[in-house]
Symmetry: C2
């Protein structure tokens, strides 16, 4: 297993946090009137080590891969859609393309291996490990070298984002079948039955969800001996989930705040936190997914999502949609006048 | 009472709505995967009468005024703050200034009358009616000509916004004591006791809330004979609340979609809907306020806020914070590729 996984994360900057908190009390508004946006600005100050944080430069990386278990009918869409959507990303037609353009964010797609081969494409980094991971109902998702490569692909994406000057990292995923893998990994990490984490994904009907649940139960039974989160990740996830976990771990190690997308990304983030609890200091949850298992993952992370709009698309789209709130929280924090500057009277003495 | 209040609202464009709904089903995502953003885009299409709605050009109008009842200690802040904040708006230091700048929205402040006189100020329209409205615990908030002037000030703001090409209207308010007036009006409109709508506003302690509640009960008893919503608005609100209601009525009459801010704006919107139920077709609720009475108002409006971030600032700030979601909903709706364009496989036949 690669050594870097266990490198420590830096501590939050408590001096910047205290200064930011004091500034919030001086701005021309009743104390606490900006609610969670105040806490967001203060946490970003602690993460970025500056009184006035900024999240203008943002890199979004979408990790794509196929899943062995998808051949057994766990999705409303055919498996070919993973590769087709990678081509859609390259042509700029997917939801995350539209959002990245509008937000002025950099978008990169990392292909970790699809069943249908994909040739070289603009904006797509070829990091193919194999044409899809193993079927978690029959064996481990990844062999040890494959797992190391997937983790490393996440680490490398964060390094590229940092080289581009990113102030916040967003990851997304694309992979037909990956709510099945995420539910299996989430259930293993939380020691819960499959039924607690399973959901319709892209749109399974009730019978489909029952079938998916049975397959996850089988995978959980097969890998029940794995109790270490890293080993659970290797056995019960997939290339893009392992890359997400590697990316979150490395972002935290580099002191880079992360805005986590929905169900699948949150499960990968939980794996990262189980591997290194300090990763949690660097995470923001963007939205509450419509996938029913997400709530249990958010609770385990101890974090509350910013948005709750019934989203269940993936690709990093929910995180992108929450980005304006982080930006505006920073703008309000950095640009509002203080009571003294504006000569506005503060609260009356009680 | 001015005739224009009862002019009818145009119907929604059901053909554009149907076309937008059909387009949502063709975009490269699982059906419904963008949750409320899909409904938002479809509703905006119905309101704007075009397949691809846009909310790029946005005008924000903040209505400011003082309240007679504020002299009796219903706020954590002194009454002078209303005028001081109008000056802060003019100098660009308030939260709504920062948000309008970052969002590229036009900001206008309409001064309807403050206790402390304000001279001419940049970006502030002087529409002074009186130095604050009447104390609702002692008599009506407004005399009939004052009420007509306040409603007309809202109408005029919408006309200016339309002349500037606005595609969406946002209103905000500033007035020390106006959660007291809004709670009184909301309770009268919903026939609920004061306790169901009262809250801490800018930060009253528990004793302060009890005092505020007793004052609202007194005002409700004094004006109990008023059963017509227009008369309840005249007696139990204030200049800025009546201007908000006038603005919402006129925006609906002109077929202009409205993004409603928090507690006070929602009460004014409810008054508009009680005067003309069709106004409801033109409203979007931006956020769930931390003010506890807001939930009952949202329920009565039959609308669900987009954000829930514990905001309780006013000024239109919550609506401004939700604006990026409306814009991105339009961008996704208008710019994503269809399955056919992107050659992506649709769902498997069940």
């Amino acid at each position: 297993m690669p050594d870097w996984i266990h490198h420590p994360c830096p501590p939050l900057d408590r001096a910047s946090e205290a200064a930011a908190l004091a500034r919030q009390g001086e701005l021309t508004k009743p104390p606490g009137a900006l609610g969670r946006l105040e806490q967001l600005a203060v946490r970003l100050a602690a993460q970025q080590g500056r009184l006035k944080p900024r999240v203008e430069r943002v890199c979004i990386t979408v990790f794509a891969a196929d899943h062995g278990i998808a051949a057994r009918g766990v999705s409303a869409f055919p498996q070919a859609v993973t590769a087709e959507m990678v081509r859609n990303f390259a042509r700029g037609g997917a939801a995350i393309n539209v959002l990245a353009r509008q937000l002025g964010a950099t978008l990169e797609v990392v292909n970790l291996g699809t069943v249908t081969p994909i040739g070289p494409l603009a904006q797509v980094v070829d990091a193919t490990i194999a044409p899809g991971c193993g079927d978690i109902g029959l064996g481990p998702a990844m062999q040890v070298p494959q797992f190391a490569a997937a983790l490393q692909a996440g680490r490398a994406a964060v390094e590229r984002a940092l080289a581009a000057g990113t102030e916040l990292f967003i990851a997304g995923e694309m992979g037909i079948g990956n709510t099945t893998a995420a539910a299996a990994l989430g259930a293993a990490l939380l020691d819960l039955p499959a039924a607690a984490l399973v959901g319709p994904g892209t749109g399974l009907d009730a019978d489909g969800v029952v079938h998916k649940c049975r397959l996850i139960e089988g995978a959980l039974a097969l890998h029940a001996s794995a109790r270490d989160p890293l080993e659970q990740l290797r056995r019960l996830s997939g290339f893009e989930l392992a890359a997400l976990t590697g990316a979150y771990l490395h972002a935290a190690q580099r002191g880079l705040p992360v805005l986590v997308d929905g169900f699948i990304c949150s499960v990968a983030a939980l794996a990262a936190v189980r591997i290194q609890p300090a990763v949690s200091d660097w995470l923001h949850l963007s939205h509450a997914s419509a996938e029913p298992g997400h709530a249990a993952i958010c609770t385990a992370l101890g974090l509350t999502p910013l948005l709750d709009l019934g989203l269940r698309l993936g690709e990093g789209s929910g995180a992108a949609l929450a980005l304006p709130l982080l930006r505006l929280a920073c703008d309000l924090h950095g640009q509002m006048a203080t009571f003294a500057e504006a000569q506005v009277s503060d609260r009356q003495p009680v």
